[in-house]
């Protein structure tokens, strides 16, 4: 369950990737004084073990009225949080699903572009899941900070493109 921590070489490679994720292996190898093969193998290991993910992100500010919806779900007594969480995780429109402790059972985060879209989404995609008892929602009005450099990387069947690649 617990992931391997990055060692010194991993961290120095990661420092380069954080600045420019498409820097060539050769360039990183030159700066760090290791072989290109070492850089390639380290990056592959970090990706395979889920310690880093190198990916394209698109700018939410380029969409009309983007807003994150924070959806807190309470599950029926006797229902399994995990089954509800798995159903939510299968929904391609939901970007984050966590089983929580502290006042509610599951947190899901999705992106919507209007209150109307959120209302329809909650009705069809959240309330409809068996075991969902109560849903509370906060709708984002303004992003103040989002540091994409850190995340909880989860390996599961939610990245079909990657599995096909």
């Amino acid at each position: 369950m617990t992931k391997r921590r990055l060692d010194e070489v991993d961290r120095r490679i990661l420092d380069h990737l954080v600045r420019d994720a498409r820097t060539s292996n050769r360039r990183i190898a030159e700066v760090l004084g290791v072989t290109e093969g070492t850089v390639r193998a380290r990056i592959r290991r970090m990706e395979d073990e889920g310690q880093i993910r190198i990916t394209a992100v698109t700018n939410i500010r380029k969409l009309a009225n983007p807003a994150l919806a924070f959806i807190r779900v309470e599950v029926e007594r006797g229902s399994h949080s995990r089954a509800v969480a798995e159903a939510l995780a299968r929904d391609p429109q939901i970007g984050f699903v966590g089983i929580m402790v502290g006042g509610f059972d599951i947190l899901a985060i999705t992106m919507v572009q209007s209150a109307e879209q959120l209302s329809a989404f909650l009705h069809a995609n959240v309330h409809a899941i068996p075991g969902v008892r109560h849903v509370e929602c906060s709708l984002g009005a303004r992003f103040v900070k989002h540091d994409y450099r850190i995340s909880r990387i989860v390996a599961c069947g939610t990245t079909p493109e990657r599995q096909n690649a």
């Binding site: 617990t2 992931k3 391997r4 921590r5 990055l6 990661l14 954080v18 994720a21 990056i43 970090m46 310690q51 880093i52 993910r53 190198i54 990916t55 394209a56 992100v57 698109t58 700018n59 939410i60 500010r61 969409l63 983007p66 924070f70 807190r72 969480a85 798995e86 391609p92 429109q93 970007g95 984050f96 699903v97 966590g98 089983i99 929580m100 402790v101 502290g102 006042g103 947190l107 509370e136 929602c137 906060s138 709708l139 984002g140 009005a141 103040v144 900070k145 989002h146 540091d147 994409y148 450099r149 850190i150 995340s151 909880r152 990387i153 989860v154 939610t158 079909p160 493109e161 690649a165």
Partner: protein, 165 residues
């Protein structure tokens, strides 16, 4: 596959992207370090044409290829979502003060159950206690917080994030 096509629909809402740009973004979502030559082969373009497109997508602020580090691999064992109720101070000021805490990686002004939603990480329980009881609740304007601790994250794939051009 449904996930990819739905994201395509959102990519379609970004002005100035053609089909080739969208396919390029999807390839880079799958593997952010795919070589220019492999991208060129997949898209039926020359390598220099692909380089120019990637540069254009990045400089226009539409897309970025990023390295995301797993919170646990860099030493953060705990992930929390905190709903904040604000009183006696503009919510934006409170949100900006919260955003200055390094461990807080996402801050949104919201409407709904709370005024601010934030996501944060902590190294361990001691660090968590220090962050919440010494820092968060002492920020002027923070009236009440609802803290949820993630015991299991099933999915975390934020493809759309805010960043400044």
């Amino acid at each position: 596959m449904g996930g990819a096509s739905r994201r395509e629909a959102r990519l379609g809402q970004m002005a100035g992207l053609d089909d080739t740009d969208r396919r390029l973004i999807e390839l880079l979502r799958g593997d952010g370090r795919m070589a220019f030559r492999a991208l060129a082969d997949a898209l039926g373009l020359t390598e220099s044409a692909v380089r120019a497109r990637v540069r254009q997508l990045e400089s226009s602020g539409a897309m970025k290829v990023v390295a995301v580090a797993d919170a646990e691999a860099v030493g953060y064992e705990l992930l929390l979502v905190v709903g904040v109720e604000v009183d006696g101070r503009p919510a934006l000021e409170v949100a900006e003060a919260l955003a200055r805490i390094e461990e807080v990686f996402s801050v949104s002004l919201v409407v709904g159950t709370h005024d601010i939603e934030l996501l944060m990480v902590a190294r361990d329980h001691e660090h968590l206690a220090e962050l919440v009881t010494d820092r968060l609740v002492n920020i002027p304007g923070v009236r009440r917080i609802l803290t949820g601790l993630a015991v299991d994250v099933l999915k975390n794939q934020p493809d759309w994030v805010p960043f400044d051009d």
